[in-house]
């Protein structure tokens, strides 16, 4: 078979006069262009002239040939313009590289033109109708072929909402399509307004469906910030006769609460109060007021808030002459209001964390023993580690056992230590104030305790009530006004900022501003941060006011506080914040530029926006100030946390920088963005940094590593064990620098945070950015300058739990399956006393007798292991059963390693039964299955978080697992005692009392 070796003959034919010959040559060239484009390229002008020749009837073919030649030459723009000229000859369904590339190019081109014209308004760039036609042809083809996802992606990219709608409505699985589209809009649409447009469309589509998916609609509405619509939907669901609808409403409420958007939730709640029938409108208004009061009271008298409101409601009901359905509705309303206020979920979380607390006191004890008493930094780091380990569990045993030791904390260390109590009792809304009472500034009595513990207590109150500060706000304001001490002002400002996070409360803002204007360095710093916290994400013009003062003041601390505050105000505003960011990053003052980095981080949090990343990388290598460079790298972590896999790649070069500040930033960036993922690349990148030559880099790397590895156990990644041993070694090493020692102590705190039941997550399960968590981590990263800010990390902790609830919002007994080996997700083994481990390590001479003994021991171990096997099968909850085989394994390991491990793997089950409420790790979620034929069916098939359960046998009595444990007044008294005894620094030391919740 002969093959033509050159196209020169055909090219020569193009110059023939007869049109038939030209046409013949073109057709042949078109089919051969992939082989002979280098030859043809020299004759492109000839073909172009054919295309331009009006008399030639196959101009489109000529255009197609030219287009292909340009494609092979890599001139995609020219290629595209000729392909457009080819019109219908350009076949979108052709399966060739050429067609694919050009289509992609056409779509890109169209998308960029569209977005440009959107930006410039109506009279923007004129779009070539031929281009539009190609894109439309492509879209139609995708829809016809059933490639809906492709079509949706393109439609979103090209800003063709009409096509998007068509693709969704015509797809075979509308629900799937819409949720795919939601993901798409969050992950890939960088322009905020446009994203809102898409979401609005989606809501419209949802509402048009026969069975609307309210859970998703409400999520969308939350993004669009339309509390009223949400309120209406919730109301409709509650008013429906079906109990299932009410469950759905509860589920919606829980899902919304998880996103931590306080201002929005408050709005929804207020709309719920105003909504009921017009006739009783004024009455209902008073109910709202009453319940507000109730809330305020509840903090005072430590009574159940929900009960209080219920009383208000029920006492009110007769007045309005409401029929029974209305009463029932009001009952439901109370429940949902409780959920929206966050109290229900916080309370349940608290119970979960308390009942599942698995923190290892031995670790703390060994830290305490190895840390030198006089080293205040390590001392307060240890206190902080304790606070983190027990965050939200209300377990303060360690503190009470070591009162003497604790009392060594003085001045700011005392401030921190007191604040630590707030972390431990985080979410203990009802008794928070009672718990902190001994340390709080006493109104009236002048000579109370030390200002440090008082300030710390106010800060602690803020931490307890973070983002749910309705009840405590007023008290904090009073305390702020009644004091002249800078330390107390500092604490009060932080506390207020936390409690009123993102509420943009004008009055509080003014009060805090007054503190700022006193120009005290310490109080001013807190005031700056506090103002930022208040105004989180509002992008209000207060920022310019703050900026002006930052220019005015002499105190670096105040400038720093303010610049962080300014950064917080633009949280999540993306492009809207660009002017402010520009202003900050061009400032003369490095501290304000540093604020600019934070502003970038906050404004573009979790968007992985390319522009922001470029800017940050630019600053990371070009700024003159080390602080700015460090922060720029660190900020990358915030921008990228929605795509943690990306971060190690992006910062890998920076982590090898000669500049230790940049390395430190890189470590924390990974820590922030990969927090709780246990990502292997992240760990590999951090590992060398943990033994860096510079002490603070080691510190950052250790903390970051702990953040990455939180809730990962050794069977998931063996390096976790290595890391734990490394921490232990660093803490015990006398010659280690204080900085890295502190890092190691904090790292062990973070690693086992919240009784080993929490993780750090900046995204909610619906991929919404958790404002509290992000803000918490941002302020936490300030600990470089101010150690008390360490405690902000507790805001980013979220429990890894599955909590199923019935209609009464109680936790019934319910079982489900995790289809994975229990050892993968079990709690880390508790440490054993050091004495026993040290003996194992001794190298021993092998005598003949000992060899025999070993053989015997091995045999025994094997028997034991096999004996353990059935017993472990029988126990349902794995964590406790896991211990048995583990212990024997350890024994046999010392005899003969590999063999025993294999045996263990063989013997382990491939699934475990979990009981509601259960610890479900993020990595475990994909293994969760619900049992068929179970009494309860989840309303939403979510593997973790709060899930409402539908009762299939409502007639039977329910077994409630978690009761309202830490709530009743019975314990209030003892708590007060115990709390006061917790850190008896200023009062008479009291003997530690048994401290038990009536569970």
């Amino acid at each position: 078979m002969a093959v033509v070796s050159s196209a020169s003959g055909l090219l020569a034919m193009l110059n023939e006069e007869h049109p038939v010959l030209k046409l013949h040559a073109l057709q042949k060239l078109n089919s051969l262009v992939n082989l002979f484009w280098p030859e043809i390229s020299t004759s492109v002008p000839t073909i172009e002239s054919l295309y331009e020749d009006e008399g030639f009837d196959q101009r489109q073919l000529a255009a197609l040939v030219v287009s292909k030649v340009f494609y092979y030459l890599g001139e995609l723009n020219d290629s595209l313009s000729y392909a457009l000229g080819a019109g219908a000859m350009f076949d979108v369904s052709e399966d060739s590289d050429y067609a694919h590339t050009l289509l992609a190019k056409a779509i890109d081109e169209y998308a960029s033109l569209k977005s440009k014209s959107d930006k410039m308004g109506e009279e923007g760039a004129k779009i070539d109708p031929r281009l539009e036609a190609i894109v439309e042809r492509m879209l139609d083809k995708c829809i016809l072929d059933g490639k809906y996802q492709q079509a949706m992606g393109m439609a979103v990219e090209c800003r063709r909402l009409d096509k998007l709608e068509e693709a969704i409505t015509r797809s075979d699985n509308v629900h799937g399509a819409v949720s795919y589209c939601i993901n798409l809009s969050h992950a890939y649409v960088y322009h905020r307004e446009y994203r809102c447009e898409i979401l609005r469309l989606l809501v419209k589509i949802y509402q048009g469906l026969p069975s609307p998916d309210y859970v998703n609609i409400c999520q969308c509405l939350m993004f669009l910030n339309e509390p009223e619509t949400v309120a209406r939907i919730v109301e409709r669901l509650l008013r429906s006769d079906s109990k299932d609808d009410a469950l759905l409403a509860f589920q919606i409420a829980f899902d919304l609460v998880e996103n931590e958007h306080q201002a929005f939730l408050l709005d929804v709640r207020n709309h719920l109060y105003l909504k009921p029938q017009e006739a009783s409108l004024p009455d209902n208004g008073s109910v709202g007021m009453k319940s507000e009061n109730g809330n305020a009271d509840e903090a005072d008298n430590a009574a159940s808030g929900a009960q209080d409101v219920l009383m208000a409601e029920s006492s009110h009901a007769p007045n309005g002459n409401l029929d029974p359905t209305e009463v029932a509705y009001n009952g439901e309303l109370t429940k949902i209001k409780g959920i929206f206020s966050g109290e229900t979920s916080i309370q349940l979380t608290l119970q979960f964390l308390y009942s599942h607390n698995r923190s290892d006191l031995l670790i703390l004890k060994s830290i305490k023993q190895s840390v030198e008493m006089r080293n205040s930094v390590c001392h307060s780091a240890t206190i902080c580690a304790n606070a983190l380990m027990h965050a939200g569990t209300t377990v303060d045993t360690f503190l009470r056992e070591n009162l003497d030791w604790l009392s060594r904390a003085t001045n700011w260390a005392k401030f921190s230590a007191t604040a630590g109590l707030g972390v431990i009792h985080r979410g203990h809304l009802k008794q928070g104030r009672a718990l902190m009472a001994p340390y709080l500034p006493q109104t009236g009595a002048a000579g109370g305790g030390s200002p440090y513990s008082e300030g710390g207590a106010l800060y602690a109150l803020g931490l307890i009530h973070a983002n749910h500060g309705e009840g405590i706000k007023q008290f904090l304001r009073d305390s702020l006004q009644n004091t002249g001490s800078e330390v107390i002002q500092h604490g009060a400002c932080l506390g207020l900022g936390l409690a009123a996070l993102g509420t943009a409360d004008e009055e509080i803002y003014e009060e805090v501003k007054n503190i700022l204007f006193n120009d005290g360095a310490v109080a001013g710093e807190a005031a700056g941060i506090s103002m930022g916290l208040l105004m989180v994400g509002t992008a209000s013009d207060k920022a310019s006011e703050m900026l002006a003062y930052a220019h005015e003041t002499q105190h670096e601390k105040i400038i720093r506080g303010l610049s962080l505050g300014i950064a917080l105000t633009v949280y999540g505003r993306e492009e809207e914040a660009d002017t402010l960011i520009e202003q900050l990053t061009r400032d003369q003052d490095p501290i304000l530029r540093y604020g600019g980095m934070y502003a970038l981080a906050m404004a573009y949090r979790g968007t992985a926006n390319n522009k922001a990343i470029h800017q940050l990388l630019h600053f990371a290598v070009s700024d003159v100030s080390d602080d700015v460079r460090r922060t720029a790298v660190l900020a990358l972590g915030f921008v990228l946390y929605s795509e943690p896999e990306q971060t190690p790649r992006i910062v890998s070069l920076l982590s090898e920088s000669y500049n230790p500040h940049v390395r430190y930033g890189a470590a924390l960036a990974i820590g922030i963005s990969c927090a709780g993922t246990g990502l292997s690349e992240a760990i590999s990148l951090l590992e060398p940094l943990t033994s860096d030559v510079v002490d603070f880099v080691r510190q950052g790397a250790l903390i970051a590593m702990a953040m990455v590895m939180i809730q990962t156990n050794e069977s998931c990644d063996h390096r976790v064990g290595t890391f734990r041993r490394q921490l232990e070694k660093i803490i015990q090493d006398k010659h280690e620098d204080t900085m890295s020692k502190m890092g190691a102590i904090l790292a062990s705190g973070i690693l086992d945070a919240g009784g080993r039941n929490v993780t750090i997550s900046l995204l909610s399960k619906t991929r919404y950015n958790k404002i509290t968590a992000v803000v918490g981590l941002a302020v936490f990263s300030q600990f470089w300058y101010w150690y008390p800010l360490l405690y902000f990390i507790s805001l980013s902790f979220s429990p890894t739990a599955f909590i199923g609830l019935n209609h009464d919002l109680k936790v019934p007994r319910f079982e489900f399956v995790s289809n994975a080996k229990p050892s993968l997700f079990e709690y880390p083994r508790p440490t054993t006393p050091p004495s026993s481990t040290s003996t194992v390590k001794l190298p021993a001479a092998v005598l003949s007798t000992s060899a025999k003994a070993k053989a015997r021991a091995k045999k025994e171990a094997e028997q034991k292991a096999s004996a353990d096997k059935p017993s472990s099968d029988s126990v349902s909850a794995s964590s406790s059963s896991g211990k048995g085989p583990k212990a024997t394994e350890k024994d046999s390991e010392s005899v003969q390693g590999g063999n025993a491990i294999e045996k263990k793997i063989e013997s382990e089950q491939s699934f475990e039964l979990l009981t509601n409420p259960a610890r479900v790790l993020p990595a475990q979620e994909k293994h969760i299955r619900f049992l068929e034929g179970s009494r309860y069916v989840p309303v939403k098939l979510a593997p973790s978080g709060f899930v409402l359960l539908r009762d299939l046998q409502p007639a039977e009595a329910e077994v409630i697992v978690l009761t309202d444990a830490p709530s009743n007044a019975t314990s209030a008294n003892s708590q007060q005692n115990s709390a006061s005894s917790a850190m008896a620094v200023d009062e008479e030391p009291q003997p530690p009392q048994p401290f038990e919740f009536s569970a």
Binding site: M1, A2, V3, V4, S5, S6, A7, S8, G9, L10, L11, A12, M13, N15, E16, E17, H18, V20, L21, H24, K28, L32, A620, V621, S622, L653, L654, E656, S657, Y658, N659, V662
Partner: protein
């Protein structure tokens, strides 16, 4: 036999007859018809489909193009020559084994080389030469072209001109005439570089003109920038010695500085 093929053969016969008669108008007409007819055969390049009549078709197509080339030589149409030659070429290069080589192959290849020489496209000349099989170089037609090129390059123009007498093929004569013109252009180019001016007599001698009249027409047509004055031909030197290129010092300094800055920034 395929009726179409019969038609082609008939027209081709008429073409051959017309060519013998030197009736070029009819030839061009017939040729154009033939070429259109040929596009209908899938067995021809570039597709080379296997059809039962492929061999005959290929052979007749080759014959047609060979005649087309010869025709273009006779009509002294260099463009047509080029066009037809390229269309013919695949029959030579890519049909190995399908049809026996043509007796006309070497003369036509030689003609093409000569054409390139005439058009002073030396680079392409050598490309073509390299593509020829080694034994083809022995062929007198090609050898002739190669020797001409050597003489041409050496500047032995008289040898080039005298080679006219030793043409291996009658069609070569036409190109040899053209070659004389190319040689003259070459000489003119050289003298322009070598002299500021020349006496008319010398110029006439160098450029091989027999009369002053011929010289002045040549100058008018091909080198209007030359000037005849006082019995001398002045070669205008348009290209005054160009100022040596300035060193972009500022740009270089800037670049170096920015490199230094970047180096400092390297992380």
């Amino acid at each position: 036999m395929d009726p179409q093929l019969v038609e082609v053969t008939q027209i081709f016969a008429r073409l051959k007859a017309a060519l013998l008669r030197n009736d070029f108008g009819t030839c061009n007409n017939l040729l154009s018809q033939l070429k259109v007819l040929l596009t209908k055969y899938p067995s021809l390049p570039p597709t080379f489909q296997q059809t039962p009549t492929a061999v005959e078709e290929l052979q007749i197509a080759r014959d047609i193009y060979e005649h087309a080339v010869l025709l273009s030589v006779k009509t002294e149409d260099q463009d047509a020559f080029e066009r037809d030659f390229f269309q013919l070429k695949p029959f030579y290069t890519d049909t190995c084994g399908l049809i026996p080589p043509s007796p006309q192959e070497c003369p036509i290849l030689g003609l093409n080389l000569l054409r390139l020489l005439v058009q002073n496209r030396i680079a392409e000349f050598h490309t073509e030469l390299e593509l020829l099989p080694p034994n083809a170089l022995e062929n007198p037609c090609i050898k002739h072209a190669v020797e001409l090129e050597q003489s041409f390059m050496e500047g032995a123009y008289n040898r080039v001109l005298s080679a006219r007498k030793t043409v291996p093929h009658e069609t070569y004569v036409h190109f040899m005439d053209l070659l004389a013109k190319t040689v003259r252009d070459e000489i003119a180019g050289c003298s322009e570089k070598a002299y500021d001016s020349l006496s008319v007599a010398d110029a006439k001698k160098i450029l091989m003109f027999s009369s002053d009249q011929e010289l002045s027409t040549y100058i008018e047509e091909d080198h209007p920038e030359w000037e005849i004055k006082n019995g001398f031909v002045f070669f205008q030197k348009a290209k005054e010695s160009q100022p040596c290129k300035e060193i972009p010092s500022l740009q270089l300094i800037n670049q170096t500085l920015s490199y230094a800055r970047e180096l400092e920034r390297i992380v």
